[in-house]
């Protein structure tokens, strides 16, 4: 077992362990920290897939923005550290497992249907041409082939921002 494999194992353990902690932990802060660990693990896996840019974006967006926002929301609801811990019940656990398995099945089917033929056979993934992607190519893709989904996402973000402004204005008017 060489160094790379050990590091790969550590990232996998961080991802799975963090995800388990996020689902099972009794304390909301521990759940959040588990989520952060899982995000870091996923970022590490992206590095093993030869996409350092995506990996850094994963940390920047999911750890730096999304998780910090979740932390902010937790802080707003007040000090919880005196409350008893709420452990995940068996029912919740089974439900979560069901959702996870269904989404895994859908995802695998989707990947096989869409990319099943195009995946190069016998070539290690890291050496296949599709894995030498630079930021320039990502940008070009956004404004050529993927311009419609990109614009639709922008529209979604605009709607979300307008909704947030409306909510903020209404709650201010009620006071």
């Amino acid at each position: 077992m060489n160094l790379g494999e050990i590091i790969f194992l550590i990232t996998v353990v961080a991802t799975l362990g963090g995800a388990a902690m996020a689902v099972l932990s009794g304390s909301i802060v521990y759940a959040l920290l588990g989520l952060v660990a899982a995000m870091f693990g996923i970022a590490g896996l992206y590095i093993f897939l030869n996409s350092p840019f995506l990996s850094m974006m994963q940390i920047l967006i999911y750890v730096g923005a999304v998780s910090v926002l979740i932390a902010f929301a937790i802080m707003l609801i007040g000090p919880l550290y005196r409350k008893p811990k709420e452990w995940t019940t068996v029912g919740k656990f089974v439900a979560a497992l069901g959702v996870a398995l269904v989404s895994l099945f859908t995802f695998v089917r989707f990947v096989m249907e869409t990319f099943g033929d195009t995946l190069p056979q016998g070539v290690p993934l890291a050496e296949s041409p599709s894995f030498k992607i630079t930021t320039k190519e990502i940008g070009r893709l956004f404004f050529n082939d993927l311009v419609l989904p990109f614009e639709l996402i922008s529209l979604l973000v605009v709607v979300a921002i307008l909704g947030a402004i409306m909510l903020a204005l209404f709650s201010r008017g009620n006071k």
């Binding site: 802060v29 840019f53 850094m56 920047l60 910090v68 932390a71 902010f72």
Partner: protein, 323 residues
Amino acid sequence: MEQIGNMIGWETVKMVVGLVGVLVFVVLNALILTWAERKVAGHMQRRIGPKEVGPYGLIQPIADALKLLGKEILTPREVDKPLYYLAPMIIFVPVLVSFVVIPFDASLQVMDINVGILVILAFSSLSVFSILMAGWGSNNKYALIGAIRSIAQNIAYEIPLLLALLPIIMMTNSFSLKSIVEAQHGLWFVVYQPFAFLIYFIAGVAETNRTPFDLPEAESELVAGYHTEYSGMRFALFFLAEYTNIFIVSAIAVTFFLGGYQGPFLPGIIWFLLKSYLLVFVIMWLRWTYPRVRFDQLLNISWKALIPLSFINLLITGGLLKL
């Protein structure tokens, strides 16, 4: 030496030597900065500052460090133990990672990664989680309020920080810190991007929790903010991280806007350190010149001034680049 090199690979040897060098630099930098801060504070208030221990008080920081090392490490009774113990260690991760990609000289850089600046920006968010863990785990009102403030501040100032660096990345077409420095061979980018430099510097001071933006640890309101319950060496780790963060913010400013290690006559490393410590001095100067802002003022500066201005700056830069 040759044999060891062949056995584990020169890259590994280089990494290990680089990391040890980084650790030594982190400690030395913190020692010098604590001394410098007390001297600067002293002279700004018409005092002398430390002068008893060694010439000009130069050995004072070593005496302080020994005192902190010798202190008993107290753990308050009702703390959340894992969070409380992990927080001072995790605050060090972003600090060490940042040093790996900063180019001190043309050849003095642990690793030139082609997403260099993203590494620093991505990992810097970890320090917020460390503050959250410290504040939450301490089971102390002041610590918790400090952590809440720190998170709100981080959300507000992370955006202008990124948006101020983006025009430079657009101009050089690269995330690598080294190629950004090389691109400033003629003129420094501060000439092209004075607003971006100002926005970055203000946001950087806020990100390091320094006065006038030191609300997470405001002494007069919150005792010591998120590290109220820490003592001895654990407190010293927070202290080390804070001073190293000041240096990192200055070093990134130098790399992006002030030509990095480039300059006439002197070797690159000296230019780099001179420029960085000049900015560190400016940050200390700010601390002893301006009073602390109110929290609503702090958030208004970012959301109502810095973010719109940096967007406008970005748009203008993009437009001019395509002309």
